[in-house]
């Protein structure tokens, strides 16, 4: 995990350093005469290639040194008479198709071009069938009212017995239709049409019965109405299907995109930490970090853009970056905080962060110096005391100093996940100190 954060740190440093370096143009870019058409060609090729360092930028946009070198390579190859496609092909042969900002319409990539069309056609089918159904419903509602009015006689309430027998006939007919369909003697489309017709009739009969009952309550027997027998069940199943699908979708989003749920930051990428940031916490547990941290980070970054001398924000950001394994960014904001207030107790945390990072990079001496300064500024800063102990214990192997530092830590730190481990280390350090 740490190795990825190393690479991330390296990449990010390159991007930062490159912005400053971008102003310097290299001498050999001046060798080739500036011809507008040629420059346009260079620009065209450079924008079609992705920068390997700042991965969401094209070579044309990226300020990184490698992108500038790649642009020079493009320039040289074009000047030597290569076609733009040949230049692109060269970069593909080195970096793979990945290097193209716009994938080629071939092979699996074709899906990118075809899927929208497929989706459009699928949507058209859904709309078409829905419209057809509505039209049919409209017809069914109109036709019986005119043509079958005599058959149902909704307006003229016949006697109740007649209506009831009619209802029984219709219900039996509906069941028969279902049976016919189940036996395969009836097409689904025909079933739908016939069912629709009979159900409309049934509804009218029921309506007439109800009216009759209202006029003469004793005439009608109370009986609950039921829609078609399979209706509620399939509706319920469909709802369940939708529910399960939505839940699965939400789950995938939450699990996979936790790192990406943050406002886009200045110079950041549209995918947030999803692509450019890896979480690689140090070996000791820092304060627990959660999915909301990226939101907090975005907020703090915005505050700092508004006021770059906001030390508390810088220090909190340093802590969050560190907890997320963004060592390079943590170094950057901690250094700024220290530069702004080198001797303020509030900078102790920044020194502690730098100490932890240096220790994780194997810089024992620098780490100790930074942590000593942190403890000098704030004698009861738990993480500084803890890491000092760890460095004396595992790095310098001065067991007496380690035991002392761990004691200090245990005296001030509230019990948490680390307490047990530190106590064990303190005991081991004491034993080793006594033994020597």
């Amino acid at each position: 995990m740490l190795s990825r954060s190393f690479v991330t740190a390296t990449l990010a440093w390159l991007c930062i350093a490159a912005t400053a370096a971008a102003a310097q143009t290299r001498p050999d870019s001046a060798i080739i005469p500036k011809d507008p058409a040629f420059e346009e060609k260079v620009r065209e090729v450079a924008s079609s290639l992705r920068c390997p360092v700042c991965q969401n930028n094209s070579i044309e946009e990226s300020p990184s040194l490698l992108a500038q070198d790649m642009k020079r390579e493009i320039r040289q190859r074009l000047a030597a008479g290569d076609s733009p496609d040949a230049v692109r092909q060269y970069f593909i042969s080195r970096y793979g198709e990945w290097v193209l900002t716009k994938p080629r319409a071939a092979g699996a990539n074709l899906s990118v071009w075809l899927l929208p069309i497929v989706a459009l056609l699928g949507g058209a089918v859904v709309v078409w069938s829905a419209v057809r159904r509505w039209v049919r419903q409209g017809d069914a509602a109109r036709v019986p009212a005119v043509a079958q009015s005599s058959a149902v006689a909704p307006a003229v309430p016949d006697d109740a017995a007649d209506l009831r027998s009619r209802r029984a006939r219709l219900q039996a007919g509906l069941q028969e239709l279902e049976a016919e369909f189940a036996a395969g003697r009836l097409a689904a489309r025909d079933l739908a049409i016939l069912k629709e017709r009979d159900e409309t009739d049934l509804a009218r009969v029921n309506e007439a019965l109800k009216r009759l009952k209202k006029d003469a309550p004793e005439a009608g027997r109370p009986r609950s109405e039921r829609p078609s027998p399979d209706g509620p069940r399939s509706v319920w199943l469909a709802r369940l299907g939708w529910g399960v699908g939505l839940a699965a979708f939400a789950l995938i989003l939450v699990v996979s995109l936790r790192g990406a749920v943050a406002a886009r930051t200045e110079g950041g990428t549209i995918t947030g930490t999803q692509v450019t940031g890896g979480a690689a916490p140090l070996d000791m547990e820092l304060q627990k970090t959660g999915p909301l941290d990226s939101l907090r980070i975005a907020r703090l970054e915005a505050q700092i853009r508004g006021d770059s001398t906001n030390v508390p924000a810088l220090i909190e950001l340093g802590h969050l970056y560190l907890a997320q394994g963004l060592l390079d960014k943590s170094i950057l904001v901690d250094t700024i905080a220290i530069r702004l207030q080198p001797d303020a107790p509030s900078s102790a945390e920044a020194f502690a962060h730098l100490g932890m990072i240096l220790w994780s990079l194997g810089q024992t001496d620098g780490a100790l110096k930074s942590l000593d300064k942190a403890v000098f500024l704030r004698p009861e800063l738990p993480e500084a005391l803890m890491y000092r102990g760890i460095i004396y214990f595992a790095g310098v192997q001065d067991m007496r100093a380690a035991a002392e530092a761990f004691d200090q830590y245990l005296a001030v730190a509230p019990p948490d996940a680390n307490t047990g481990r530190i106590r064990a280390m303190r005991d081991a350090a004491r034993q080793a100190a006594a033994g020597s």
Binding site: S3, A17, D69, R72, W98, G107, I252, V255, G362
Partner: protein, 208 residues
């Protein structure tokens, strides 16, 4: 109609499957077309002023290690390279460092401080880095006696990676490695090295 109630939710299933697959991929894993191909030749000046041509080392197992003095991960990696040089030199391992986006003075000071007696060449203008499809430093290419790249490590190498690949390369003698070039070149876009269990990339192989 019954099927329509199902068709719409059901059409979401392939989308979900696709998302579940795509969102769990590691976006850092970028396929390289280079493993299996001949290592691009370069002729560059070393930090000590000699000139070095990679093709002159043909017939030997070579690690081409891109690094820079400003690169933190390279510091962590360097002791591993020193150890590798010590352990495998007698069996014929050669290491060539390529200094990336850096100055001669910085690189010299870095080596003087940290050790390492193999040649380091200065890649001015990143021409060689681009030739090797470099994303950043450190990156290390494991090249067999036949001059083909067998494996590319993105990020720092560790002892594990060295011990997995170097003996294999040394044992291969002057015979081409068992895997034909096509193993890497075929497949989706540009040969996902990770897809081949025999030749995992750094991230697939590294100890976690």
């Amino acid at each position: 109609m019954r099927w329509q109630r199902w068709a719409i939710p059901a059409s979401g299933v392939p989308v979900l499957v696709f998302l579940a697959w795509g969102l769990t991929q590691d976006p850092h894993t970028i396929p390289s077309p280079l493993p299996g191909k001949p290592a691009p030749d370069f002729a560059l000046q070393t930090l000590t002023g000699d000139s070095l041509r990679l093709d002159d080392l043909k017939g030997q197992v070579v690690l081409v290690n891109f690094w820079a003095s400003w690169c933190l991960a390279c510091r962590a990696e360097h002791p591993v390279m020193i150890e590798a040089a010590k352990r495998y030199r007698d069996q014929g391992l050669r290491i060539v460092g390529v200094v990336y986006e850096d100055s001669r003075d910085n690189a010299r000071a870095w080596i003087a401080e940290r050790g390492g007696d193999w040649p380091n060449v200065l890649d001015v203008g990143s021409h060689t880095a681009i030739k090797y499809g470099l994303f950043g430093v450190p990156e290390t290419f494991f090249i067999g006696r036949d001059g083909r790249i067998l494996f590319k490590q993105i990020g720092p190498v560790d002892q594990d990676v060295i011990d997995r690949w170097v003996p294999k390369l040394l044992a291969a003698g002057s015979v081409a490695p068992a895997a034909p070039a096509d193993t890497f070149a075929e497949g989706r876009s540009a040969g996902h090295v990770r897809a081949s269990p025999e030749f995992p990339t750094a991230r697939g192989a590294g100890p976690k």
